[in-house]
């Protein structure tokens, strides 16, 4: 307004200069300048006002008789009227220009916001990830004080998954404006909803133009609410999130009380955000369904493959057991002691085979279910290997098993039961394919200070390309004439790999120097490789400790002396331990 007055004053000065100074006969056209300017800057109504003001000013200052609003000649009248018409038209045009520009800006910012929101949704993996991005963007783009997203079938069940101002208390939702999503494209239609003290929803539809006014009336009609409304610092808006006619949540937004309802563009943004969240939730549900279906399918496939695979292996020992037991029970037959023992031995061996198979089946299902919990402890590998080889000797016959484990091998940090099972499976596998030839079990330290246990056989081996498939579930080696049986269940090596990996180890298949297959199991060891200084330090601590120990014993009732500093002594003994122990005794107090 002030600028308009200043513009008019400036124009009047200019007109005076032109008319009085330069003798320009008609300066009315100069007054079109402020009209255009005002129209472009402030819009239509002010442009009309400026036109009329310009008309009056020109009449007053420059039309005879001067300094009155009367006009002498008819010609002047015509000029002035024409000026007014032109001024009005130009003002209006400029104003229209302004309006178009504003609309274009609004549309482009809306389009930008829409695009950004769909990008947010597309980039987010789930609705829960998309919601905070959308809430923050809406708060900015739709000029909302605060935006939050709740998911749930009704307002009461909703769980807030995103908030543009997290942590702050949310306003009471007693009364709110609800956007009808169906009208998102046309004129936005907000409906006022309030929870009455009776707990029911009181809902009334409004034209947008009348909405605020009616609301005020309504507030006046409901005195208790009026009090409440005065306490409410903000106006709450709710846009339901719907998919397939079902409400699954809401986008909530607030503006400071007294601000206008969201305009078309902002309402569209809110509606679009709700739509995108809805689609995102649907996408999540579909993905979850698909995953569950896949898991179930794989589980079923595994079970049936497992049953297919083991049913033969289960039946073979069972028939052998029944045949041997049947023989023993047969009253018609007189068995020699020798034959009886042989029958009993075969029952025993077959039962052991069954027992190993059952263990493998259980282990496989634990591996698949991720339910393996190794309890790692330090062991000398020979302590674990020897009993297994001894136990399996009758099963492995006629194959001969050689075991060679260096006495000074680094201790391994493993679950003893897992190692037992791995070795059992490898030996059994070796015996199956080695067909009575040699089986060798060796252990060695690898270059990177790990320990590798290798089981190899002198059997026909596995062709190179097949090696990688060896640890796959239900893989059976190629059938060979002369092999003792038609292959195992195809789970033994899979279980070996699963158990090794559960302990932090690994398995690898390669060609053996004996001609057959070599399976190498890398077993974890404890901590870092022992350094020379550490050994020396340990020796020193040990000596000091022994002195203290001895002193305590000499002093009388033994107070349990603790071991040396755990950090120094828990380090497993290295290969040079033997000599360092001998040295220690010589310098010790004994």
């Amino acid at each position: 307004m002030a600028l308009t007055v200043a513009g008019l004053a400036l124009t009047t000065v200019l007109a005076f200069v032109l008319v009085r100074g330069l003798n320009v006969p008609d300066a009315a056209i100069v007054y079109l300048l402020p009209v255009v300017a005002v129209g472009m800057l402030y819009g239509s109504w002010l442009a009309v006002g400026t036109s009329v003001a310009a008309f009056l000013i020109y009449d007053f200052f420059f039309v005879q008789p001067l300094y009155t609003f009367s006009i002498a000649s008819a010609e002047e009248w015509l000029d002035l009227l024409l000026f007014l018409v032109v001024a009005l038209a130009i003002g209006r045009l400029s104003a229209l220009q302004l309006q178009r520009r504003r609309e274009a800006e609004l549309r482009s910012s809306e389009a930008r916001a829409m695009f950004a929101m769909s990008r947010d949704t597309a980039n987010a993996a789930t609705a829960l990830e998309a919601a905070p991005l959308l809430a923050n963007r809406l708060a900015r783009e739709a000029e909302m004080d605060r935006v939050w997203v709740g998911l749930g079938a009704s307002s009461a069940e909703e769980r807030v998954v995103a908030d543009s101002r997290p942590g702050e208390p949310r306003p009471p939702l007693v009364s709110r404006w609800v956007l009808h999503s169906s009208s998102a494209e046309a004129q936005p239609s907000w409906t006022r909803v309030r929870d009455t003290p009776g707990g029911r929803l009181h809902e009334q539809s409004h034209d947008r133009a009348l909405a605020l006014e009616r609301a005020r009336d309504q507030a006046r009609d409901h005195p208790p609410d009026q009090v409440h409304e005065r306490d409410e610092p903000v106006t709450v808006f709710r846009v339901p999130i719907q998919t397939g006619g079902e409400t699954i949540g809401s986008v909530w937004a607030t503006r400071v009380h007294g601000d206008p309802l969201p305009g078309r563009s902002h309402s569209r943004l809110l509606a679009a955000a709700a739509d995108q969240l809805g689609q995102s939730v649907v996408r999540d549900r579909l993905a979850a369904d698909a995953t569950a279906a896949e898991v179930a399918r794989q589980g079923d496939a595994l079970k049936s493959a497992l049953l297919d695979s083991v049913s033969h292996d289960l039946r073979t020992p069972l028939s052998a057991i029944r045949a041997a037991a049947g023989n023993l029970m047969d009253p018609e037959v007189q068995w020699t002691r020798e034959k009886e023992r042989a029958a009993a031995r075969s029952i025993d061996l077959e039962a052991q085979r069954l027992s190993r198979l059952v263990r493998n089946m259980l282990d496989l299902s634990r591996i698949e279910g991720g339910a393996l919990h190794p309890s790692l402890e330090l062991y000398d590998l020979a302590d674990l290997v020897d009993p297994v080889v001894e136990r399996l000797a009758p099963v492995l016959a006629p194959a001969q098993v050689e075991v060679s484990i260096p006495a000074d091998l680094r201790p391994v940090c493993v679950d003893a039961i897992f190692v037992d099972q791995i070795l059992t499976n490898l030996l059994e596998n070796g015996a199956r394919y080695a067909a009575g030839k040699r089986i060798r079990v060796t252990a060695s330290e690898t270059v990177d200070e790990g320990v590798e246990l290798v089981v190899e056989d002198a059997g026909p081996g596995v062709p190179g390309p097949e090696l990688v498939r060896l640890f796959e579930r239900f893989y059976r080696g190629p059938r060979r004439p002369g092999s003792r049986s038609e292959g195992g269940s195809g789970i033994g090596l899979t279980v070996a790999r699963g158990l090794a990996e559960a302990m932090g180890g690994s398995v690898e298949a390669r060609r053996s120097q004996l001609g057959g297959l070599a399976v190498a199991v890398r077993l974890p060891v404890e901590g870092e490789p022992e350094a020379a200084e550490e050994t020396a330090e340990e020796t020193a601590e040990e000596t000091a400790d022994e002195t203290a120990d001895e002193a305590a014993e000499a002093a009388g009732p033994t107070e349990p002396a603790g071991p040396t500093e755990p950090a120094g002594d828990t380090e497993p003994a290295g290969p040079t331990e033997g000599s360092s122990v001998a040295a220690r005794i010589l310098v010790g107090p004994e």
């Binding site: 402890e377 022994e546 349990p560 002594d569 380090e571 003994a573 005794i585």
Partner: protein
């Protein structure tokens, strides 16, 4: 071997297994009582005072540990517990409560015989001779003089290695749990330092092996994976 003559109480709820084992032990000359649950087991314990108890830990009425606690309050009768694979913690608890040895199901009868022989022999013989000496195979430990010899060769042990060997020898044939060894040798605060024990057992084995050219002493200390150690001469 002829190791009959003992009164054995078998506590096992699976009748087939119990009857089979009982039949075998009777055939080998033992007197056998059978119980299917804890109540029956305790009743038989009270009226029969068996020489050995074979105890399945998974019983229908009460935990098998109840039997161990009750028996240990009254006697040192050897107890061999039987547990299923995957229940290692039960086994350790039973051994700590006073059981002498364990078997894992399914087990063979030859394993059972070996374990029974070991615990019966231990129960029969004195733990130390009149001069306070503990013996096992080639190993002789003179406890009062703090001396250990293998064969005739003296072995120098640190006080803690000596203690460790003493605990194992005094329980010879029995499984001693890692926790019990640690408590006995280092004290209660160290019952979880399993890695420690491994280091000391390794040293002890090496020293015994070094003193015995025949190599028999190297295999005296046997690891019982997940449970502990035992010293046994085979």
């Amino acid at each position: 071997m002829s190791d009959g003559g003992a009164v054995v109480l078998i506590v096992e709820d699976d009748e087939t297994a119990r009857v089979a084992i009982a039949g075998n032990l009777r055939a080998r000359g033992h007197e056998v009582d059978e119980a299917g649950d804890v109540r029956e087991a305790l009743r038989l314990w009270d009226c029969r005072r068996p020489d050995l108890i074979l105890l399945d830990l998974g019983l229908p009425d009460l935990d098998g540990q109840a039997v161990i606690r009750r028996v240990r309050r009254e006697a040192t009768t050897p107890i061999i517990v039987v547990s299923a694979r995957g229940r290692e913690e039960d086994r350790v608890a039973a051994l700590d409560a006073g059981a002498d040895d364990y078997l894992t199901k399914p087990f063979g009868l030859s394993e059972l015989h070996a374990r029974m022989r070991a615990v019966l022999r231990r129960a029969a013989g004195p733990e130390a001779d009149t001069e306070g000496r503990l013996r096992l195979g080639p190993v002789v430990m003179d406890v009062p003089r703090h001396e250990v010899t293998v064969g005739e060769a003296p072995v120098e042990l640190t006080p803690r290695e000596f203690e460790l060997l003493k605990v194992l020898l005094s329980q010879s044939g029995r499984v001693v749990t890692a926790g019990r060894l640690l408590r006995a040798v280092w004290g209660t605060a160290y019952s979880d330092e399993g890695h420690y024990l491994h280091v000391y057992v390794s040293r002890l084995r090496r020293k015994l092996a070094a003193a015995d050219p025949s190599g028999a002493a190297a295999k005296l200390i046997v690891a019982e994976p997940g449970v502990g150690y035992r010293i046994v001469a085979e």
